[in-house]
């Protein structure tokens, strides 16, 4: 496992995901991806589900990757990496590895659409079969690649292009699906949440290093603030991510062996949810008097979940 020390040290890592890609200015996806691929010195084979990261990092005739990479479809990043990992096992057994002096690790990236929704079956299957890989969900809570449609990761009250706010609607009606817990319930040896937040670059890199070096299927759900669809200024990406953890809208925790939960960050003073919601255009309508109850509901859910996490951690279950 690569030791993640100071940022001064980490920044000496030769970057394996390069610029010249076509992601939006200020996109959190590439912040997360860079930290993940730089969190190990082992060679990598990566699969990526159809989505922003995929279309923007491999627009023919260009690739942004310094590591082996494959994209097949929207719903099969996990199956694709499972196949590559199986091939690695087979060739190792048959003594036919291409560079047997090097260690190879397997990572899959998918957006929330490709992970929570259409790719969930393939992810669940690959994890259940115990392939040795890390799956990173770049959770920007909507189908940003196709113009901001809702996904099952979209939180209540959010305006999206398929759950627009309107004269009679306040936007998305359902709560965000708790995918991290669902993945933990698969019995993965390691599951964690992460963000590209100013205080939390090390939390993310350490989690990635830990997950990659863990034998078996591991999962990181990384909140990826989307400047375009969440409607905030590109330079504020890191700040929005910070607000998500300071309000406990997206708490940072990890679960080992399917049950042992550890909270990785506790805000000194939990900020009210308005701070997070108010910073994003997708929630601006919630501040109208008639929608006040949604913010109250949000706060209640956040408090309950935060309480639940703390009680689980305390009980060691």
């Amino acid at each position: 496992m690569k030791k993640i020390g100071s940022l001064k040290e980490f920044a000496c890592t030769p970057d394996r995901f390069q610029g010249g890609h076509r992601l939006c200015p200020g996109c959190a996806h590439s912040m997360i991806v860079r930290e993940v691929v730089n969190a190990t010195d082992d060679d990598l084979v990566i699969s990526t589900a159809t989505g922003c990261l995929e279309v923007c990092s491999a627009i023919y005739p260009y690739t942004s990757w310094d590591v082996s990479w494959i994209h097949i479809g929207f719903e099969n990043a996990a199956a694709a990496i499972a196949g590559a990992e199986a091939m690695h096992k087979a060739l190792a057994r048959k003594d036919r590895l291409y560079n047997d002096d090097r260690r190879v690790k397997f990572v899959a990236f998918g957006g929330d659409g490709g992970t929570y929704d259409i790719g969930f079956q393939s992810l669940s299957g690959a994890v259940e079969r115990g392939h040795d890989f890390l799956y990173v969900c770049l959770d920007n809570e909507n189908y940003a690649n196709t113009g901001g449609q809702r996904s099952s990761a979209t939180p209540i009250g959010a305006h999206t292009s398929t759950t627009p706010r309107g004269r009679v609607s306040y936007g998305e009606k359902q709560r965000k699906k708790d995918l991290t817990m669902i993945m933990a319930a698969h019995g993965c040896p390691y599951v964690a949440t992460a963000i590209p937040g100013s205080k939390h670059w090390k939390d993310l890199a350490t989690k990635a290093a830990k997950a990659i070096s863990t034998v078996g299927p591991t999962f990181i759900n990384a909140l990826s603030p989307c400047t375009t669809e969440w409607k905030f200024k590109p330079e504020d990406t890191v700040e929005i991510a910070d607000l998500a953890v300071e309000t406990c809208a997206f708490p940072l925790y990890e679960i080992e062996d399917g049950h042992k939960l550890t909270i990785n960050y506790r805000p000194k003073q939990k900020l009210p949810i308005e701070e997070y919601l108010g910073a994003q255009g997708r929630f601006s309508h919630l501040f109208k008097p008639e929608n006040k109850w949604i913010i109250e509901e949000w706060q209640k859910q956040v408090d309950e979940y935060w309480d639940y996490l703390q009680r689980r951690e305390e009980a060691g279950v």
Partner: protein, 132 residues
């Protein structure tokens, strides 16, 4: 039309299976012409970050949070013998001008500031805010 004219080839010369090699010379990590590192998104910019080496403390926040891998670093050894990354510049071919680096820069007077694209860097450094 994202492909520069000199990269456009004909049906009989396209990459087999559309498979792209990252490196032309993997041994020396020389990136191939198919690497986006050799593409430019400079024309996406309206404003650009300018880097003031004088004020930089090499915290490397800009390096870790830059979504476009623009920050060029040099590995140096500090007084205590530890390796660390020194920020030496910005690759303007890759910078889209998002401004994240400026936001995360923690120095009291920022060592990164946004300037209009047309302002010369030398000129920008002259305009830098001074300590009171």
């Amino acid at each position: 039309m994202a492909t520069p004219k000199d990269m456009l080839t004909t049906w009989d010369k396209v990459q087999f299976g559309a498979v792209l090699p990252s490196f032309e010379d993997p041994e020396h990590k020389k990136r191939s012409k198919f690497h986006s590192y050799n593409y430019t998104v400079a024309d996406w910019r309206v404003e650009k970050p300018v880097f003031n080496r004088e004020l930089c403390i090499d915290c490397d926040y800009c390096w870790v949070f830059c979504p476009d891998s623009c920050f060029q670093v040099e590995e140096v050894v500090n007084k205590r013998g530890k390796k660390q990354a020194k920020i030496v510049g910005i690759n303007y071919n890759l910078c889209k001008g998002c401004g994240v680096c400026v936001e995360v820069c923690p120095t009291p007077i920022k060592s990164l500031l946004m300037f209009p694209e047309y302002v010369d860097n030398e000129e920008a450094l002259k305009q830098w805010p001074k300590k009171d």
